[in-house]
């Protein structure tokens, strides 16, 4: 019996040995092949020179050096936000980049930093404002429901303990692993608080079914929890002109407009005429109404126009009804075509497109309509 089994045992041992040797060789080759050593990154023609370890995506390599490019998906190559110009030759665009870049951007050598691996010396160009983006360690100061699906979250800044940002800008919330989510994720949320409140920042988070960040905030985040944010990011902020401001938002889109309007109040900048259209479905979806009614009393040129698209009989709603675009359409007509206007929008891409179309119909110049198009 033993004589029959022995050859099979030997064969198994030999195959096993070969497998181990092959695995070791692969591991060694992998180490050699993927060891890119020290690599230099030149930013904005010498404005900053970095010496980094090669082999990782540009986005995370820069983040390790405390340079944070905006990223709504945390480097998964799905949002197309982490665009930057790479001026050195790093080969053609990858199939994972192409769908998220326009032809013009590709011609300009714009790349997705999360998809480009740092393998050799690189020269890149990024907006100077990105150098001001920092990571903040915070503690949840308060977390309250403002509607059945929107939470108001305030974070106390621990390190650094104060922040400087423009009202209207946003932060990347770093969502830690939880439940079945094994990796960190980042999602963009606009500041609700004003820049004058330097030690504390607020956000409005609306629950999106299956949403990684929103589910975490709604189901797991508690007062006293530690939380990280990367901020400030974004080009949505008040333009200092005399034009009539047409502000439109719905749901958690309230946040940046709340920040902009109360920043104006804090600065005594209340000479402008402002119309704030806020869309909701029923009365239970409205919030901060009293706050804005109070603001109307202090600021004669400020007008708050909440509108319900499907008011319930028990709401006894006597205000505006219809989709917010319909309400906007009616009001712009009343304001007259000859007066200069600017649009400030926050909401889903669909809502923004619809509002832009209404404004353009009423001769508001497209370049005077400002927004950050994210949900």
């Amino acid at each position: 019996m033993l004589t029959v089994l022995l050859p099979a045992v030997y064969a198994a041992a030999v195959i096993g040995g070969i497998s181990v040797v092959l695995a070791l060789m692969l591991s060694v080759v992998d180490r050699i092949m993927n060891n890119y050593g020290e690599v230099k990154i030149n930013i904005n023609q010498g404005q900053k020179d970095l010496q980094v370890k090669g082999g990782s995506p540009l986005l995370s390599t820069l983040a390790e050096q405390k340079i944070y490019l905006p990223s709504a998906c945390g480097g998964k190559g799905t949002c197309g936000t982490c665009k930057c110009k790479v001026t050195s030759d790093i080969g053609p665009h990858l199939p994972t980049e192409s769908p998220l870049l326009t032809t013009a951007e590709m011609k300009e050598n714009i790349r997705l930093a999360c998809q480009v691996k740092v393998k050799s010396n690189l020269s890149i160009e990024i907006p100077e404002a990105l150098f001001n983006i920092k990571e903040f360690k915070t503690t949840v100061d308060s977390i309250v429901d403002v509607t059945h699906d929107i939470k108001e979250v305030y974070l106390k800044l621990d390190n650094p303990f104060s922040i400087s940002f423009k009202a209207g800008q946003y932060a990347q919330l770093v969502i830690p692993p939880y439940d079945k989510i094994k990796n960190e994720n980042q999602r963009a949320y606009s500041f609700l608080s004003t820049p004058q409140e330097t030690g504390r920042v607020g956000f409005l988070i609306r629950l999106v079914p299956g949403g990684i960040a929103t589910s975490y905030v709604h189901q797991y985040l508690n007062k006293g929890d530690s939380f990280r944010i990367i901020a400030p990011v974004g080009d949505f902020f008040l333009r200092e002109t005399d034009a009539i401001m047409l502000c439109v938002a719905g749901g958690s889109g309230m946040a940046p407009l709340h920040s902009i309007l109360f920043d104006m109040v804090n600065k005594g900048n209340t000479n402008r005429e402002v119309w704030y259209f806020f869309g909701a479905v029923t009365k239970s979806d409205l919030f901060y109404v009293e706050k804005f009614r109070e603001l109307e009393k202090k600021w004669p040129g400020f007008h708050f126009v909440p509108a319900l698209s499907e008011p319930k009989p028990e709401d006894k709603w006597t205000g505006e009804t219809g989709l917010i675009t319909e309400v906007l359409d009616r009001y712009i007509l009343k304001l007259g075509a000859d007066r200069e206007k600017e649009g400030y929008l926050c909401g889903s891409p669909g809502m923004i497109n619809a509002c832009v179309n209404v404004m353009k119909k009423h001769k508001v110049k497209e370049e005077k309509i400002y927004y950050d198009k994210f949900a």
């Binding site: 799905t78 079945k180 990796n183 869309g279 675009t325 809502m351 949900a375």
Partner: protein, 150 residues
């Protein structure tokens, strides 16, 4: 049942953290072809047509967008809310990119509801894949029938 190399590749992409954080298979221990086969059998048993389901869900997605991020009532029976996020998700089967659009659909008459995405809809129509049990975006054939009243 053994997986073909292609099916292995697709199943790999469906794991948590590859395309979406939660993945597409949930806690389901069955292999991909078995999940699809069982759902096809259930749909047939319920006399629910894949193309019809897809057509109706697509209509709700399109009509729901008119709510501009807020819930909207369609045909006085269905409450639809469409949430749009920045970016796209690739199909794990490798045929196309889909906008990150989530639809919450509620039948106001029987209070039954379901959640689907543009990608879920594509997986249903093109691959008869309703996702594994335990996956957040799993579409149960019985729930589809009840919510859509087909």
């Amino acid at each position: 049942m053994k997986l073909s190399p292609d099916q292995k590749k697709v199943s790999e992409k469906m794991r948590p953290g590859v395309i979406t954080q939660g993945g597409f298979l949930g806690d389901d221990t069955r292999l991909l072809p078995e999940i699809i086969q069982k759902d096809e059998e259930r749909m047939e048993y319920l006399k629910t047509d894949w193309d019809m389901v897809s057509k109706v869900l697509r209509r709700f997605l399109k009509e729901g967008k008119k709510g501009l991020g807020e819930p909207i009532t369609i045909d006085e029976k269905w409450l639809v809310k469409v949430d749009e996020s920045r970016g796209f998700l690739p199909c794990p089967f490798g045929d196309g990119l889909h906008r990150k659009t989530t639809v919450t659909l509620k039948n106001k008459t029987n209070d039954k509801s379901l959640v689907y995405t543009a990608l879920t809809l594509h997986l249903l129509k093109n691959h008869h894949f309703l996702q594994g049990k335990g996956s957040f975006f799993r579409l149960e054939p019985d729930t589809l029938k009840e919510v859509l009243e087909l």
